[in-house]
């Protein structure tokens, strides 16, 4: 079983890296891009002993305590069986 965790900056938190990437993308000539925000993505392998809901609970706890800083970031957990 695999869990995927997406960590993104909360709306309103300045993302200078996203802005720099956006700038480069525009310099390359790509158009119709209104904003780019950078985040983090984690893949977590789980052993098969957990139900999907147990896995989600476990990984959400990991995301909350380690992967994301709740002061500035949000996270989303997906479980793949």
């Amino acid at each position: 079983m695999k869990a995927k965790v997406y960590v993104t900056l909360k709306p309103g938190v300045l993302d200078p890296q996203g802005k720099a990437i956006h700038h480069s993308v525009e310099l390359l000539g790509f158009q119709n891009i209104s904003d780019i925000r950078q985040g983090k993505y984690f893949e977590i392998e789980l052993d098969g002993n957990l139900s999907a809901s147990e896995a989600k609970e476990l990984v959400s706890k990991i995301a909350d305590e380690v992967l994301a800083n709740p002061v500035i970031e949000n996270y989303r957990v997906e479980i793949e069986s």
């Binding site: 938190v13 300045l14 200078p16 890296q17 720099a20 380690v66 002061v71």
Partner: protein, 240 residues
């Protein structure tokens, strides 16, 4: 009195802090490896600058799980003094000992230069030898020093006088131009409500000797040292 300087894997200003306490301030000091779980016998703990755990995940994010941090939390809860410098400030925020967070500098650059700081609160154990409004020259060296917090936290900080240092210009005006990294309200250092924990991005340990161009940082260490001396003296007379 005894100081302790915590050494995380990746700390690199630990020796600077140790040097200043032992040679310039002239007080006993130990290095404390991050696996230590007992901080008995210490009066003040310094979390030094550097790149603990290579800044992996987020600056300070992994150091907060080091065994010593449980002891630091207890140490702070007992009212003893904790000073976080640069990466140490980032660790204190990640650990929840100070509010808010430090994110990437607004201009994305690693900034290493002398800046001016205005002392906003001289009524803390770390600043009581300085006058409110005094301008200090102390260097910064960071890529993630952009202090952010939500409106509610900011109001709390202001209400409780927890903002200790703000970036300012040469004459002490807090201006947008004097803000090197985009920090909210030019915040360079904050303390907790109890005033026994201070986190600051600038490096006072790099400004304690004439050779280094400024001795303003020494005022912070001497304030703290005097505070501890007074406390210890009081405790001793209480006990007699």
């Amino acid at each position: 009195m005894k100081y302790g300087v915590i050494v995380f894997p990746g700390s690199n200003c630990d020796h600077d802090a140790y040097h200043v306490i032992s040679k310039v301030v002239g007080q006993p000091v130990d290095f404390i490896w991050h696996k230590e779980t007992n901080l008995n016998g210490y009066d003040a703990i310094i979390l030094p600058g550097g790149f603990s755990y290579g800044d992996y995940l987020r600056a300070g994010a992994l150091a907060k799980f080091s065994p010593v941090m449980k002891a630091v939390k207890k140490f702070a809860a007992d009212g003893k003094f904790v000073l976080g410098i640069c990466n140490g400030f980032q660790i204190l925020c990640e650990a929840g000992l100070l509010p808010g967070a430090l994110v990437r500098n607004k201009n994305l650059h690693f900034i290493c230069k002398h800046v001016k700081l205005r002392v906003e609160n001289a009524n803390t154990p770390f600043t009581n030898e300085i006058k409110k409004g005094q301008v200090l020259s102390i260097p910064i060296a960071h890529a993630e020093g952009n202090y952010i917090c939500d409106d509610k936290t900011f109001q709390e900080l202001e209400k409780n006088n927890q903002i200790v240092f703000r970036y300012c210009n040469d004459v002490g005006e807090v201006t947008e131009e004097a803000n090197p990294n985009g920090s909210r309200s030019n915040i360079a250092g904050i303390c907790n409500k109890n005033r026994n924990i201070l986190g600051m991005m600038p490096h006072p340990e790099r400004a304690c000797e004439d050779l280094l161009g400024s001795t303003d940082g020494l005022k912070i260490f001497s304030s703290l040292t005097k505070t501890i001396e007074n406390q210890t003296g009081k405790n001793m007379s209480d006990g007699s």
